[in-house]
Amino acid sequence: MGMGKNLLREKAMKTLVPWHSRFDLMGITFLLFLAGAIGSLPSIEGSGRNLDYLGNLARFAEQFFPPDWSILGQTLDGLMETIQIALVSTFLAIALSFVISLGASRNVSPPWVLWPTRMALNVIRTIPSLLWALLCVVLVGSNSLAGVIALTFYSTGYLAKFFSETFESTDPSAQKALKSLGAGPVQAFQYGLWPNARPIVWSHCLWMLEYNVRSASIIGYVGAGGIGLHLKLYAESANSWNKFSVVLLCILAIVTLLDFTGERIRQSLRDKLEGKQI
């Protein structure tokens, strides 16, 4: 019996992984990243002057307090406009992205549709939202329509990518089962793949809405509507940091609220799809 155990142990120990197996793709890329970060340290330089960093920070932060709540009313108006921009642009982006994502999904589209679509999405994503906003302000003037157009384009670049990745990574077994039961390709997608992808797709939509509220808060800085305009106004006028802080607090409140509820909804959708919620 003891003999048998020893043999078993010997056999089991042989299956221990050798040291060099740690240098897989993850290990090597991590080392490269670490080397890159440490190697970059010497080239990051400050102004070289001897400044009173903490004192500067304290003097600057002091101006934020106490917040000047007298401007709360107009701040909330700006916030409302921001949320409206985010809602409309997310809605338009979802509609656009659904169609475009089918073109960017390997398991739906042929290569001659796939690659041009993916390239176009890459290009859209390369342009930051602030640049889209600037472009749209030039096109349609300084108003909230510019913000809607800008954010629609910007978030389509992301959403269409998320959607297509969802379609590609969703368990296709039900889709195959339906094909074998005689369903056509559209039916197999609609009733086999889409139900499994739908909760994930909606999770991405909610995330995009959150993200767009954040983006819509800043694009006003270049004139594309929303609360960003207030930020710019108070940042550039004298002695207005205490008003600036009210705007910041309002943005913080709405973003935190959205983040919290969004996460709860996403988690519950995931649980339900995985059958954890009875």
Partner: protein
């Protein structure tokens, strides 16, 4: 010639390999309409592979198989892994069995009323009607199994292939489901090939048993189950 056409399935010298190992060879089957065939043998013997071969999922390594050449003939499978759409309701999952009878366009905004009615009757028979609005993901394993049976029965295949359709059901639901599968197939003049582990169920429901042999691929047995043993 007449006799040949009246069979739902014929195989001649059919053989299938898994890697280098033959699962079965020289398999000659002839399945008439209205007949319930149990496929038996220990796990890994090739029951699932045989059913996949018959469904056209796998190509044979030798031999031939033939099916009736009329438009109404159809083969559908109850999959061992069920393959349900987790994020769709029980009703939608069951209804998607009938997709083959309708065009892409006609089911784009829902299913025809007549199909819904037939489907609800079937769900009621399988004890699932009170869960018809729930997602398939939150059903128990046994309920999911019954749902998979419903879906394939609604496809109305002439030749039904069932891969251990009652493996995760309690004995009562197992027997009820086999009874339902058998009577549905008899009613429409179809047949069923069903892999089973429980010998009592084989004796009770099957007209024939195809017993695959774990060691010898050519030692399969085609056995008629005598009707006296049935309850």
């Amino acid at each position: 010639m007449m006799e040949a056409e009246s069979k739902l399935l014929r195989t001649e010298k059919l053989g299938l390999k898994l890697g280098k190992r033959w699962l079965f060879r020289s398999l000659d089957l002839s399945v008439p309409p209205g007949c319930f065939v149990a496929v038996t043998g220990p796990s890994g013997v090739g029951k699932t592979s045989l059913l996949r071969l018959l469904a056209g999922d796998l190509p044979p390594d030798e031999g031939f198989m033939s099916f009736p050449e009329n438009k109404k003939f159809g083969i559908s499978t109850i999959f061992q892994d069920l393959l349900l759409a987790n994020g769709a309701s029980v009703l939608t999952n069951a209804l998607s069995g009938c997709l083959g009878r309708h065009s892409d366009l006609s089911t784009l905004f829902g299913f025809p009323h007549s199909e819904k009615e037939a489907c609800l009757v079937m769900l009621e028979a399988f004890g699932l009607s009170n869960k018809s609005r729930q997602w398939a993901s939150i059903l128990s394993r046994g309920e999911r199994q019954r749902l998979a049976i419903c879906r394939t029965l609604l496809a109305g295949p002439t030749l039904l292939l069932a891969d251990e359709p009652v493996a995760s059901l309690d004995p009562e639901w197992g027997n009820r489901s086999l009874e339902f599968i058998k009577s549905t197939q008899l009613e429409m003049g179809g047949s069923a090939l069903c892999s089973l582990h429980d010998e009592a169920q084989v004796q009770r429901f099957a007209d024939y048993a195809l017993r695959l042999h774990p060691e010898s691929p050519e030692a399969w047995v085609w056995e008629k189950i005598s009707s006296e043993k049935k309850q």
